[in-house]
Symmetry: C2
Subunit: 220 residues, 2 copies
Amino acid sequence: MAGKTEDSPTTSERVLRAAEALFAERGFDTVSLRDITGAAEVNVAAVNYHFGSKDKLVDAVVERHVNPINQERLRLLDEYEAQPGEDVLPVRSILEAFLAPVLRHIVSGEMSEHLFGKFMGRLIGERGYSLPQKVRPLFGVMARRFSGALRKAVPELSEEGALWRMHFSFGVMSNTLTHGDTLQQISGGRAGDPPIEFLFEQIIEFCAAGIEGAGGVEHE
Amino acid sequence: MAGKTEDSPTTSERVLRAAEALFAERGFDTVSLRDITGAAEVNVAAVNYHFGSKDKLVDAVVERHVNPINQERLRLLDEYEAQPGEDVLPVRSILEAFLAPVLRHIVSGEMSEHLFGKFMGRLIGERGYSLPQKVRPLFGVMARRFSGALRKAVPELSEEGALWRMHFSFGVMSNTLTHGDTLQQISGGRAGDPPIEFLFEQIIEFCAAGIEGAGGVEHE
DNA sequence: GTCTATAAAGTGATAGAC
DNA sequence: GTCTATCACTTTATAGAC
């Protein structure tokens, strides 16, 4: 079921690739099975044959991109923490473990920057928390591991505070990916056109400062 | 066309209120005219009579919530800047002018926190930058005014850097509104259930630190 | 595994009576 | 300004031939 050669992709792969591009561009609900099978140049019935339903196809597309990224995030955090030398992992490294896998996913061309940003935005905006079963648990693990690392790095942080600050950081990344081009339009080009690597560097800097500038983080 | 009394809302108002709740809950494209007119308890034909089309209804709903918030943002920034005493408006105040109108919009019950968050998320995720004509110009004005204020407060910031940092801050707010409840689910309740006012306070703190910790913000 | 043909339901929009 | 009835279309999904 996996990749075969570059030149003769499986029918189900043709469907997946066409689907992810169309979903990113126009949204999960707006895109019809006919749009997908048309772009993939396969028969209308192929989707239901290979995936069971449109909903399951959506889940498959989501899983295909989100799980590898989250796994890589956890792997990187492990790797950084296992490094000898420093006994406390600095905030910047934690953020890097969190953000770099997304950057690599983009740069490696799994999906173009433009598409992947839109895809993430769609996923978050349209699907909200009704994420497929197969991607949900990893998010729980990540929340625990990353907020834990953060609390070691910034001892003043409560668990609650650490979780929310991770969430804030996720918001910065997600919004930048999804709507970076919006800023450029709104500002009439005055926001420049910084390369994605530079933007990620800026995000890490912004978020690290935000996290380290942690005051009281308990309500009441 | 405006509000009449509390007890006998206009047909078009019934439609608007039903529509915004449904759009927030389920997305612009997923909700049908029949869903809306059913919830509003008006006739199917009423939408086309009063608004012309479903698209125009969507625009009306968006405009109704977004424009007042943006106007209030600019008004607040004017007010703060006109205050004697300090000659440079601190970053925290700039962020407050940016965020407080959203908080007020929620607290005043124009739309509930839950709904408004989802609504913003939908708007951003599904509509992207194809915002209605009537709300677009205000965003341009805001980008200019707020990034200008920021550069006065943090002279090291380039125009580009100021715009991107405003954008980052917007991302934090937008993502928190839209997916605050997601964090609570992911973390298994360990993120607590902080009141919205406290969360906004935290966001301002996070973003102020992120903006003030501005290093080099020019690429190349 | 892939195709055609079609079922069954839902969509936005509108004409025309009241 | 509100209603019913209906048009023209698209949607997902599936049965059955090959």
